[in-house]
Structure formats: structure tokens, C-alpha cells
């Protein structure tokens, strides 16, 4: 069980959330300027580290806000929900 620290609602069970994968992967400013490989990288390639990962969560059953946090993918330790503007 992961207790996810929602910055707006406090710690809640993971069942209230949707997982959003790696954070910080921005939608390209001009997708048409990317070649197929770069576009495929945006579509499909995300960090999959054994260790700390900055990732996105969505409190779908609660305040319905997206936010970022850092989680250790081996221990599930979570630190510092970071800035409010997630991406």
C-alpha cells in the first residue's frame, strides 16, 4: 500500500489516485517539427529507474488535482511533493 501525500488533501490511500508516470515530459511545442524517432521518444519512452523517480499522480477520487512527487521505486519512500505546476 502506498500512502500518497496529496498536497491539497494530505496522505491518502493509493486507491484514490491515478498514476501518471514520469514527471517533466512536456508535450512538444511543435510536434510537427520532430522526426519520427523524437516523436516516438515523446510517446513511448519514460524513465524506468531502479531508485528515485519524479513522477505524477492525480487525485482522481479526491481534489482532482495533478501533482508531482519523488518516490523510490524499490522502497516506495516518498519525499517532497514538489511545485504545484505539474507536467
Amino acid at each position: 500500500m502506498i500512502r500518497v501525500p496529496c498536497p491539497h488533501c494530505g496522505d491518502r490511500d493509493e486507491t484514490e489516485f491515478h498514476y501518471g508516470g514520469e514527471a517533466g515530459v512536456a508535450y512538444p511545442a511543435d510536434p510537427s517539427a520532430l522526426d519520427d524517432a523524437a516523436w516516438a521518444s515523446y510517446l513511448f519512452v519514460r524513465s524506468n529507474p531502479r531508485g528515485w523517480l519524479r513522477e505524477r499522480w492525480f487525485h482522481g477520487a479526491g481534489c482532482r488535482r495533478w501533482f508531482n512527487l519523488e518516490r523510490h521505486t524499490v522502497t516506495d519512500e516518498i519525499r517532497s511533493p514538489s511545485e504545484m505546476r505539474p507536467q
Partner: protein, 408 residues
């Protein structure tokens, strides 16, 4: 008090651990079922015996030891059916091939449909399977009830059974027997099996991988074959290749030993129930994949609870069975739920086999054969070719989500 029959004994000798030598023609990273089968086929089919299998922990202690051992080939797309059916055929002769018992039991696999959309998808898959020469059937609830009397096929359950697909040649095997059988056979052909040897880096020259750096020293590599399942992306990162895989916990559980009540495998993607009764009598069940990335080999308890609710709904008789032990494997999932097999991007002599998600066990013999051929011949085996990494760039995916949300 009824006494139970013993399972077949393991052979008197399996394998002896090797000390790493300075170099090998092929270094396989990952001593699970796929790595061992690949080593075996390199030696057996291609005469390449100067091979090391590096395992960071204990042999076959990863997903090989943690899966629900379901074997089937009834996948939707031609490419998938091709490689899985190749594998199923190898399963059918594996005991003779390896000379050891693997307890492959062709008891059939049922995939249940719970609504009209499931029915449609199930029939689509059965028809594709039949035209690909596979033994697939569509069964009505009544027919299913005859095969699995303890399954409630009335309209009582919250999500009633509307029918299902059935593959009679599908079944289960005993994972330790399989892994150790490959290890024994590979060892007998001269393959070095090296446990407790973790890869920490790679030495490269131009577009060539020269050696692997390990916790037990540098090991020269003529060719490199990654077979590390959920850890593949971590290894590929060391070579500067970002794989489109994500590693998730997949939970499973067993019950106590029970007198036989279920002699086929029943899967229900819609409600995440995957159950068989193993050779000794325990119910073995797989659950859904946790959504988040996780390498901790631990899953979330609520997943197990949801799964039990669904299982008891379908099999009321299960209410009084007990969960003895739960655990999780780490499954590496690709965007199209199909594996990646082939050259590792720009590297001349490095290959990758990963992304099997929940389907890796059943593919073990097939992967061993086609991946070994790919590495030995330095070009993709025809059954492996569609699964090359570049499909994510071209967009020519092999999307098995529709027919197998969790592929098991």
C-alpha cells in the same frame, strides 16, 4: 486421511556453479528462464558453448520463481500467435529435449467473457487462432460449466459468464523444474552458470560492446544478450539506450493444498482472476498489475482483496480456501503489450529480449530458440523480426491490449 502422490523427483545432479572466466563468446545477462533457455539453444542449436549466464542473485529467482506458470498461445495477432505457438510446440516436447521432468500439463486454458464486448473480442480471437492453425474453441456458458463445475455460470454473479475461449493444448508447468532443466542441460553442454554476479557497467569501443563489468570483475564479451526482464531498462540505460518499457509489480498468491477441484486453467481479464490448481493441489492465482513503477517485489494489498472478491464471485466454493502466501514479480511492460526482441539499437553486438510483461514464462522455450538464433546468426529470426525495437518509431505496433489486458 488420504495420502498424496509425490511429484517426480529432481535429477540427482543439476549444475555446478562456475567461476567467471576472462571472456566468453556470448555473455547472457540474466539467469532466469529466458537466459537459461537462450544459453541452452546457443549451445545446442548453434554450437556456441563458450557462453556465460550471469545472474545477480540466485538462478531463476526473479519472475521465473514468481509467476503463475500459465502456458498458452491463443494470442490475437499473427506475429504473437507465431512466436507463442512456436513456444507451445517446444513445450510439448520439452521433457524429451531436456531429459528432465517439467510437469507440463496440457489441461487447457479458459478465458472468460463477461459481457457482449468480451464475447465479440473472444470470438474474434478464436477465429484468428483457428485460421492460424491453433486449437482454439468458443464455448458457451453451459459448455464451460461442464469443464469447470465449480465455476458459477448462472446469471447470479455480478459479472456473469457469457462464454469463453478455450485452448485445450494450453496448460501449466512447474517453474523450478523448467529452469533447472535448462540449467542442467546448458551446463552439460559447457555453458558457465555464474550466480551472485551483478552487472554494473559495460566497456565499449565504437559501436561494439567489449566487456561487462560485474561485481565479480570484468568479463569480456564477444556478444552481449540481455535477458533481464524488469531490469532490462536499467541495463540498457548503461549503454545509452532508453527502452520503452516500464517495470511494474505483478502479484500472485497460493492457497493451501486442496483436493482437486479444478483441472483446467481459468482466466478472466475483465475481473482479474487467473487461477489454476497446481500439481500438489494448491490454488495458484495471479492478480492485476499495479499501475506504478516498482522494483520492490511487493504489491499492494488492496489488489489482492479485489482479486479475492472477484474470484469468490465466480467460484463460490473458494470462499473458504486460504491465502497462504502472496508475492510480487517485476514485469516489464511495453506500450503495445508485446515483447522487444532484437538488436539493441545502434550496438553492433548487443541484443535485447525484454518487455514480456506477464507473458514471459510461457514464451521460455520459444524465446530460447529464436533469441539464440538471432544472436548466433546476427540477424533477426523470422519469428522475432516483428518484435524489433524500431516498431515504436514507425508506429507498426503489435497491440495485444485488446485481447489480453493482462496477458499472463
Amino acid at each position: 486421511m488420504k495420502v498424496s502422490p509425490r511429484l517426480p523427483e529432481h535429477p540427482d545432479f543439476l549444475w555446478a556453479d562456475a567461476e567467471p572466466r576472462t571472456s566468453y563468446d556470448v555473455v547472457i545477462v540474466g539467469g532466469g528462464g529466458h537466459g537459461l533457455a537462450t544459453a541452452y539453444h546457443l549451445a545446442k542449436d548453434h554450437g556456441i558453448t563458450n557462453v556465460a549466464v550471469l545472474e545477480k542473485g540466485w538462478l531463476a529467482g526473479g519472475n521465473m520463481a514468481r509467476n503463475t506458470t500459465i502456458i498458452r498461445s491463443n494470442y490475437l495477432w499473427d506475429e504473437s500467435a507465431g512466436i507463442y505457438e512456436h513456444s507451445l510446440k517446444l513445450w510439448e516436447t520439452l521433457e524429451e529435449e531436456l531429459g528432465t521432468s517439467v510437469l507440463f500439463s496440457q489441461r487447457g486454458v479458459l478465458n472468460l467473457a463477461h459481457n457482449l464486448a468480451d464475447v465479440r473480442e473472444g470470438k474474434r480471437r478464436v477465429n484468428a487462432n483457428q485460421l492460424n492453425g491453433l486449437d482454439a474453441q468458443w464455448l458457451t456458458p453451459e459448455e464451460i460449466g461442464k469443464i469447470v463445475p465449480i465455476l458459477d455460470v448462472t446469471d447470479r454473479p455480478r459479472h456473469p459468464v457469457h462464454g469463453g475461449t478455450f485452448q485445450p493444448r494450453a496448460g501449466i508447468a512447474k517453474h523450478d523444474h523448467v529452469a533447472w532443466g535448462y540449467a542442467r542441460a546448458a551446463h552439460a553442454l559447457g555453458v558457465d552458470i555464474i550466480q551472485g554476479c551483478q552487472v554494473t557497467g559495460f566497456e565499449t569501443s565504437g559501436d561494439t560492446v567489449v566487456a561487462v563489468e560485474t561485481t565479480r570483475g570484468r568479463i569480456g564479451a564477444g556478444r552481449l544478450a540481455l535477458c533481464a526482464a524488469g531490469h532490462s531498462s536499467v541495463l540498457a540505460d548503461l549503454l545509452g539506450v532508453r527502452l520503452p518499457t516500464q517495470s511494474h509489480p505483478l502479484q500472485a498468491l497460493v492457497s493451501e493444498l486442496l483436493e482437486q477441484v479444478l483441472d483446467t486453467v481459468v482466466m478472466s481479464n475483465a475481473v482479474h482472476v487467473y487461477v489454476s490448481q497446481a500439481h500438489k493441489g494448491e490454488l495458484v492465482m495471479g492478480a492485476g498489475v499495479d499501475p506504478q513503477i516498482g522494483y520492490g517485489q511487493r504489491g499492494s494489498f488492496h489488489v489482492i482483496q479485489d482479486q479475492m472478491a472477484a474470484a469468490v464471485e465466480l467460484f463460490p466454493v473458494f470462499a473458504r480456501a486460504h491465502v497462504l502466501r502472496t508475492w510480487a514479480g517485476i514485469v516489464d511492460v511495453t506500450p503495445d503489450a508485446s515483447p522487444i526482441i532484437g538488436r539493441l539499437d545502434q550496438w553492433e553486438n548487443a541484443y535485447v529480449n525484454c518487455g514480456w510483461g506477464t507473458g514471459g514464462f510461457k514464451a521460455t522455450p520459444g524465446v530460447g530458440s529464436v533469441y539464440a538464433a538471432t544472436v548466433a546468426d546476427e540477424r533477426a529470426h523470422p519469428l522475432a523480426a516483428p518484435f524489433a525495437l524500431d516498431r515504436f518509431t514507425t508506429g507498426r505496433l503489435i497491440d495485444e491490449h485488446g485481447a489480453a489486458a493482462v496477458a499472463h
